[in-house]
Symmetry: C2
Subunit: 368 residues, 2 copies
């Protein structure tokens, strides 16, 4: 999407120069800076410290990471090492493993000297597919917003948690795609943006929406239940890092609390998910998906700008304050109104999902 | 309770010197500083900017504020002006209005020159009663923790939101009183402390608990649902700024989300409330209690310590990011397991509450 007057993707490759460029999201929303990587270790670092973040984007970044690795070592061992390094960066999102498995499968049985070019092409294909998937999610999701607008005849209030925006994907975003489509279609929409502690990804969402002129209001993570109770939320849209075959949604910590509030107050609650986010091997997300525990300092240290407008940080708790920092939670399928996918809007249950994705297609989705 | 080796109350008066001392809670947890006030305007400012905070404590502070005002102007007009000024500081907690009404009632029909001494005495009585009320809440509340310990035979995990600690009262605290009593009785207890954005009062709770050696872990407000889902919370204890006659609890924003999660996961959820927090005139809290909207900068600006350990702040969002900052929400009585009061533990419904507090006593509770 646009930053100023220029259209950007969140990540783009230059195979000719063996280089991958990306927006450094640890600098947002205060500074818009791009970086580049020429080695797989740099890509792994960028994923780990969340310079690139968002389930779809880290899958794409990892795929390009394999291509970079092969530039330096195209042996079987080199390929395996790259995949292992990249898989270890973040444990929760399925897209990472999915993208790596897909690239690895593509290269299996290919002679080493032919691998590199093929890896670049496959990573680029994953990136381009991601853009198409997200745009299609928008095409389906905007209908939900439009229907609410036709019924309510006033701006539609959408609440979202974390950043499932275009910078969490290659372009469009999952949650933001319907929002941008609505805005383009002149359907009035206002977005409640959850701050999303500890890393405050809501500020990225606010930055995105402000850049596009979509009306929005930042609120603390605590406020959403109150807003729903008071009828100030018409629709909740969240992203997902992994979805089970029965429709449980693993997403940023705090999503579950919003789902409970939406359910209690009759507010429709959808997860916007591209196909690769559905992990057909997982049935019960609560029991089966590992939840990443991230560093305590993410809670203790808050980054922002000082009074002079320079990047700064404060410690809100001392280093000896014990902290737990689980990064994701699971929203059981029963709390969802549905899933907005590139194929349309579906109910979140095993029967409906499996019926729409027959086994052959599920295998294809997981391993092209 | 103790700070270092010294026993403190959060606020104390020196009528001889026409002065009220208090802990400046805007400096906590980074610095322990006391302030004093000689004028009602200083007390009003301290309440408004939350140097003194917590429903019980602001009632006590306001009562002393009237005494200070009368030192300068003991006329009917002076009394009325003081009460009006103080009532306007914070709209949600009932204790503020309750304490002011009580002092005003005590002074009605009293000759101006006799008012000041009486006001000091009444404010002191309210303060001393608050200490006794909170200690009694602890005596009843600790039984809940003890029962869980006897059943679970491992440390009891209690989650709390905001700071309903001794510094939110004159001493003991509402939520912390059972925790301190448990700790004193060597019942092993571990406290999950919600950060409580935007003002991070959880850090005050963490500071209190650390000062007393009570095991605790700081978590973001987003984490509680996940912890309950995973069986890591045995009991939720929250405070209240106002409770309706049928047991709805108005408390710090975010409380409602934790109540929904507790209800969904079978975790007992209690509000710890002294009698003056029950507003017998309110039946439906959601419809009748005004919710304070606090300044946007509370969300935009985060205070803490810089890398040199000096008090500092960062802006996490720019001044033109639209922000909403509702400070409280309402948890419907149906989501509560019960209320822990100085009289014992009661179910949160109108019949049980009214039966236990017959009209004469309710009138007395509201207006001694």
């Amino acid at each position: 999407m646009k930053v100023g007057d220029t259209h950007f993707r969140s990540l783009w490759a230059d195979p000719a120069k063996s280089r991958v460029h990306f927006i450094d999201q640890t600098r947002l929303p205060f500074a818009f800076e791009t970086r580049s990587a020429t080695r797989v270790e740099e890509v792994a670092e960028a994923i780990r410290v969340m310079r690139v973040r968002g389930a779809p984007l880290i899958g794409v970044a990892a795929a390009f990471g394999v291509a970079l690795a092969l530039e330096h070592d195209n042996s079987d061992a080199g390929l395996k090492r790259a995949v292992t390094t990249l898989k270890a960066t973040r444990p929760t999102a399925v897209n990472l493993a999915w993208a790596l498995d897909r690239v690895e499968a593509k290269l299996t049985g290919v002679l080493p000297h032919k691998r590199t070019e093929l890896a670049w092409a496959e990573a680029q294909a994953i990136a381009d597919e991601d853009v198409a998937l997200n745009e299609a999610i928008g095409t389906h999701g905007v209908k939900l917003i439009e229907a609410l607008y036709l019924r309510l005849k006033r701006p539609v209030n959408v609440l979202t948690h974390c950043n499932a925006g275009w910078i969490a994907t290659v372009d469009w975003g999952t949650v933001t795609s319907p929002l941008y489509k609505a805005h383009e279609a002149r359907i009035p929409v206002h977005v409640w943006v959850d701050e999303t502690r500890p890393r405050n990804q809501g500020l990225l969402t606010a930055w995105e929406l402000a850049s596009h002129g979509v009306p929005h209001t930042l609120v603390t993570d605590n406020a959403g239940g109150h807003l729903m109770q008071r009828g100030q939320v018409d629709l909740v849209l969240v992203g997902a890092d992994r979805v089970s075959r029965r429709g449980d949604v693993c997403n940023k910590i705090g999503t579950y609390l919003k789902a409970l509030a939406a359910h209690a107050n009759g507010v429709p609650f959808y997860a916007c998910v591209p196909t690769p986010t559905i992990d057909w091997k997982v049935t019960d997300a609560l029991a089966e998906i590992p939840i990443e525990e991230r560093p305590a300092d993410e809670v203790r240290i808050v980054r922002g700008l000082d009074l002079q407008g320079l990047p700064s940080q404060v410690a809100i708790a001392s280093a000896n304050t014990p902290v737990a920092n689980p990064a994701f939670d699971v929203t059981p399928a029963e709390l969802l109104t549905g899933l907005v996918t590139e194929r349309g809007v579906f109910k979140a249950n095993e029967r409906d999902l499996l019926a729409l994705w027959p086994k052959s297609q599920r295998d294809q989705a997981y391993l092209t």
